[in-house]
């Protein structure tokens, strides 16, 4: 990334309009936004061709700050809106920014069906393990026994592995990283942007003000250090005994495969129907 000017992020922000932002001190969302912008800049994608779509939640506030075509939608429905944009104008790069509640709880159905269709959307799911915007309720990724305002005695539910869910549903690019591993995040987003098919990147992120406080995780810096210490790259996992992998965040590109993409399939269908009729 050496060829990119240092302040490239500033060129993409709507800094004259929408700042200061709504995120708390120590929130990882800004780190993810920075990574997305640098990935876009490194690929020289025309910003007029990028549509950033989000739902509701802390992470979903991201689009308003960035100078792309931006669409801040309803809780859980970002992938459905993005599907409409992409299907009508397949040449646009459609990036969905979503959170664990938005994507995996209320929006879970759209996630699995978009993955099944293999429509070329780039879903960046920022997983902070909690509902931050509404003040700290339990989400589908809140770990077992962790605390939330709606799990005051500890969460008795098992948590969701969103990457596994997406792979099970047919996503063709699935990756996981953390807010600590910024370079890795950036290169994953870059790779997803070049991948022709449904892509999901889970970014395990820090919500020090709510999740961290409720679960005594220390401050933002401590939470990021924990991501460094408690995560393993996929390559290392294969060499380690299972007990050393237990409880770790596994980082890396978990799946990358080529399967027919939905908008391309649809275009082919139109062509076939029209040719058959022409004969």
């Amino acid at each position: 990334m050496a060829n990119i000017p240092q302040r490239i992020v500033h060129e993409y922000l709507r800094h004259d309009k929408k700042f200061p932002h709504v995120w708390c001190a120590g929130c990882s969302n800004g780190i993810v936004l920075g990574a997305i912008i640098r990935a876009v800049a490194s690929l020289n994608i025309d910003r007029n061709d990028i549509v950033m779509v989000s739902g509701i939640g802390c992470s979903s506030r991201m689009p308003v700050y960035v100078d792309f075509n931006t669409l801040h939608t309803l809780h859980g429905r970002s992938i459905a809106f993005a599907t409409g944009v992409k299907l009508h104008k397949p040449h646009l790069k459609v990036i969905v920014v979503t959170g664990d509640g938005d994507c995996a709880a209320i929006g879970g159905n759209h996630l699995i069906h978009a993955a099944r269709r293999n429509i070329d959307l780039k879903v960046v799911m920022i997983n902070n393990n909690i509902y931050g915007m509404t003040g700290g309720q339990c989400s589908p990724t809140t770990p077992h026994n962790a605390y939330a305002t709606t799990a005051p005695y500890g969460n008795i539910e098992p948590d969701f592995d969103i990457c596994n869910l997406a792979m099970g549903a047919g996503a063709t690019f699935v990756a996981r990283t953390t807010a600590f591993h910024v370079q890795e995040m950036q290169s994953m987003i870059k790779e997803a942007l070049q991948h022709p098919g449904f892509s999901l990147i889970e970014v395990v992120s820090a919500c020090p003000v709510i999740y961290g406080r409720l679960n005594k995780k220390g401050g933002a810096a401590q939470m990021l250090k924990d991501f460094r210490d408690n995560s393993l790259p996929l390559a290392a996992v294969e060499k380690l005994p299972p007990e050393k992998v237990e409880g770790k965040i596994i980082r890396g590109i978990l799946r990358k495969e080529i399967r027919p993409e939905f908008t391309a399939e649809y275009a082919a269908l139109c062509k076939r129907v029209q040719t058959e009729r022409g004969e």
């Binding site: 809106f81 159905n109 139109c270």
Partner: protein, 414 residues
């Protein structure tokens, strides 16, 4: 014909119609377009909606199967790929409405079709289309509710939901045809109005009209009036997504055209950015209200039938108005002066026409296939008058209101 016979007929039609559609994927539209001139053909209300949508320029449909609206999706699934339009079957109605809004923001003319349960699910998305002023059309082929109700039977129970279904104040444009031909015409009008007023327009259809076959002569495509959204002519840095200087009908850019605007379901300023300022919030809400209320004359359509000398009026929409017309013919034969006022636009409500009607008649009969919805709007306008002159006929049993029932009521009051 007795009530039972009518209801049996309508019930019998559904399966056979579906079978014939499945057997003949080649559309009638194609058949008629092959010839230079369109001739009279027999078609269903749902078919008329689908062909109306195509003639209006709809090039994007996202939907989810639901009786009694499914034929609309089936026809568009066959037709849209032929003209590079998009048909996509979504995972549910929540996705359907959101997908057509996304497509519309990218520049498509987008439509979805559903029935009561799906219409309920779409309400949040409809509110989003209204606050973000994004053109789209939702066709709601009504069936008996609440809940799953009676999926293949007619009801007119969504009159109020079509206006108040989404939370918060949101002025509505809702059209209501009474025939197969009018289903075609009002579908085109719904698409046109959605483009002109930048909002979600709702077309309410009766199950009976959706599945009834009538002889229809579609107009030559050259004679179909199409309205497209106004595109901005200013450079991107001057573009306002909600331009307050344009009589509330402001130009609309699409994603990917260089304008890079922001769209949010949050209360927003004229650029589309979220705001918490009371002044800007009030301005946005006023804008949504005024773009409808300042254009009532353009939006409201009514049919006034034999009202010139009427002492008794019937106020009815959709299929109930057809029973009313039959009752009027019988009553007039006996010398009773009775007429019909029929709203083709139920929202905004035709206040002026109803006020005029109330001035000229002693009694108004309001037949509806619900427990009394539009009658309250008529009642609202009876100010000062005794409401003794306002008589409901309601039915929610899956059967239609018959001409005889209306005729008997006319005879009771005259």
């Amino acid at each position: 014909m007795t009530e039972k016979e009518i209801s049996k007929q309508t019930k019998h039609k559904t399966p056979s119609d579906k079978a014939s559609l499945a057997a003949k994927p080649e559309s009638k539209l194609e058949e008629i377009q092959a010839k230079h001139e369109r001739k009279t053909i027999l078609m269903q209300g749902n078919e008329a909606v689908a062909y109306g949508a195509l003639d209006a320029g709809v090039n994007f449909f996202a939907g989810y199967p639901i009786t009694p609206s499914t034929e609309i999706a089936e026809i568009l699934a066959a037709e849209l790929p032929k003209r590079n339009g998009v048909f996509v079957q979504m995972e549910d109605e929540l996705a359907s409405i959101c997908t057509i809004i996304g497509a519309s923001l990218a520049g498509a003319k987008a439509l979805t079709a559903t029935s009561g349960p799906g219409f309920s699910l779409m309400q949040e998305g409809i509110g989003f289309a209204k606050i973000t002023e994004t053109p789209c059309v939702v066709v709601d082929v009504q069936r008996v509710g609440p809940s799953t109700g009676m999926p293949t039977s007619p009801a007119q129970g969504d009159m109020m939901q079509s206006k108040w279904g989404s939370h918060g104040d949101s002025p509505a444009i809702v059209l209501y045809p009474d025939s197969v031909k009018e289903s075609y015409e009002l579908t085109i009008r719904a698409v046109n109005l959605s483009e002109k007023y930048r909002t979600c327009v709702i077309l309410l259809l009766d199950e009976v009209i959706a599945h009834m076959r009538e002889a229809v002569c579609l107009p030559d495509i050259a004679n179909v009036k199409i309205i497209n959204r106004i595109k901005p002519t200013v450079p991107p840095q001057w573009y306002k997504h909600y331009d307050e200087n344009q009589k509330y009908l402001s130009p609309l850019a699409s994603f990917g055209e260089g304008y890079r605007f922001h769209v949010t379901g949050l209360t927003h300023d004229s650029h589309g950015f979220p705001t918490n300022k009371p002044g800007e919030a009030a301005e946005m809400m006023e804008r949504l209200r005024k773009k409808i209320s300042y254009n009532i004359r353009d939006l409201v359509q009514i049919e006034s039938y034999q009202m010139e000398d009427a002492k008794i009026a019937i106020f009815a929409a959709g299929i109930s108005s057809r029973a009313a017309k039959a009752a009027i013919a019988s009553a007039r034969a006996e010398g009773i002066k009775v007429g019909l006022l029929r709203p083709l636009t139920i929202w905004p409500f035709p206040d002026d026409a109803v006020r005029k009607m109330l001035r000229n008649v002693d009694t108004v009969i309001v037949p509806e296939l619900n427990q009394g919805q539009l009658i309250h709007e008529v009642e609202r306008l009876t100010k000062g008058k005794s409401d003794g002159g306002l008589i409901p006929i309601n039915k929610v049993s899956s059967e239609l209101i018959t001409p005889n029932e209306i005729l008997n009521k006319i005879k009771e009051v005259c």
